[in-house]
């Protein structure tokens, strides 16, 4: 049986594209598997819940009860892929808690595969957070997201050695277009007949990247 993936999209910085990545990934998994459960721990930023209300639940890691509600759901090997949009304010607490409760060990025991998608930035807070993650997360479970719109150049050296997924920047007018709450990436692929458009190719490229990620997961398990 392939492991149940849990994608945790996070960064200690606001406005770096976490919700964009979580949206893309959730829509990809919904298209591929027909179902996904996403969790929005992102109360202070543009929220995944606003974009994908049908598949998204809110969660928090402020108190123990909130942590139980979230973690007891994502530790279950039910074959249902999960995506967590982890807001910057909850980043430290989430990983502190997951370290304390032995989340990764228990996940491995239960055939659950946590994949941490760390959305990079070039500031010191991000560098420190990445260092912390490297100490806590095995390299195969830690992936750096190089969002060209945010990084605008080379990734910091320390972040470029492991696995990196690159999301190319869209022109501003297209970014504004995809930021609309009613916009759906899969909906666009279905409706737009012209597959040569920049947005069409951008979405397909990102979906292809996520498909590779899923395949890697299956290969790792086998």
């Amino acid at each position: 049986m392939p492991a149940t993936p849990v994608y945790i999209v996070g960064s200690p910085r606001p406005q770096v594209g976490k919700t964009l990545v979580a949206r893309l990934l959730s829509e990809f998994l919904l298209l591929k598997n027909g179902r996904v459960t996403s969790f929005d721990i992102n109360l202070k930023e543009p929220s995944l819940l606003d974009y994908l209300p049908d598949v998204t639940e809110t969660a928090d890691v402020i108190d123990t009860y909130g942590k139980m509600q979230l973690m007891d759901r994502i530790i279950v090997d039910d074959g249902l892929s999960k995506v967590i949009d982890l807001g910057y304010h909850a980043f430290d607490e989430f990983f502190k808690m997951s370290d304390q409760i032995g989340f990764l060990k228990e996940a491995a025991r239960r055939n659950v595969a946590p994949i941490i998608l760390f959305v990079a930035d070039i500031d010191r807070t991000s560098a420190r957070a990445h260092e912390m993650l490297k100490l806590q997360i095995p390299p195969s479970n830690l992936i750096v997201i190089d969002n060209e719109y945010v990084v605008r150049g080379e990734l910091p050296d320390a972040m470029s050695h492991g696995r990196v997924l690159r999301i190319t920047a869209l022109p501003t007018f297209l970014k504004t277009y995809i930021d609309r709450l009613t916009f759906s990436f899969t909906g666009y692929l279905r409706q737009e007949k012209d597959s040569s458009t920049e947005l069409h190719q951008w979405i397909r490229r990102n979906y292809f990247m996520f498909r590779e990620l899923e395949l890697n997961l299956i290969l790792q398990k086998s």
Partner: protein
Amino acid sequence: MFAPKQDWEQPAAMVGGVEGIDMAKPAVIVVGADKGGVGKTTVSRTLLDYFNANSVPTRAFDTESPRGTLKRFHPDITEIVDMTTTSDQMKIFDTLNTASPSVTVIDVRAGLLSPALASLRDIGFLDAAKSGQITFAVFHILGPSIASLDEIAETANFMSGAKYFLVKNFINDTQFFQWDQATYNSYFHRIKDATDLVIPKLNEMAYEQVEVASVPFLKFVANKGPRDEAANYSFVLRGYVRHWLANVWSEFDRIKLTDIVGSGKAVPRSSEK
């Protein structure tokens, strides 16, 4: 009334067996404080779990007579006694050499620590410990008040021959006056050979869930019910308990508790794997 002459009044080499043969000395660990609500039973429970994990046969006495909290969590090895009565004192101390577990943990009810130690002195137990016939350790659980710290001086009078551990139980955000070195030193450096132990704070919900489950911490971590049946405790709460218990046990490892009770080195424990 005094109990009859005990085995531990014999020469050390004779205790527990034939002269010249090295038998394990009985070990008695008293967990107490003169204040209530400082975590005596919690510490006793961690000790019983620690010895269980290290395969050290242990029995326990709960002096919260008639209703024992410790017995609720460890019913198979715990007996409720009234330490103020001679018959129950005999039940504990007359059986030290005959009972198969070599380690005896006594959870002393609030307010009874000093009287209990005085009784032990009166029956010659402290002298036996002093002469090395018995291993005797006291875990004195400290509360976050000066009154609690004042007990240290009172208890210290009985401590020659015993291993004395001052247990700072961080049941809340108390600092034990570490921010005031003069006050801190006046209490914590008063007794030579006393060793500090730190019990970190356990997440409140996790603690309450274990209370509700009425199982030892070890069983809770292993997701088991009172009769070893599969349970369904929260993964998060089990994780918090596992993390906390590992920290507590690392303190017990630090003071070489298994060596103190004469059972050799701590073994790798399944709950830490």
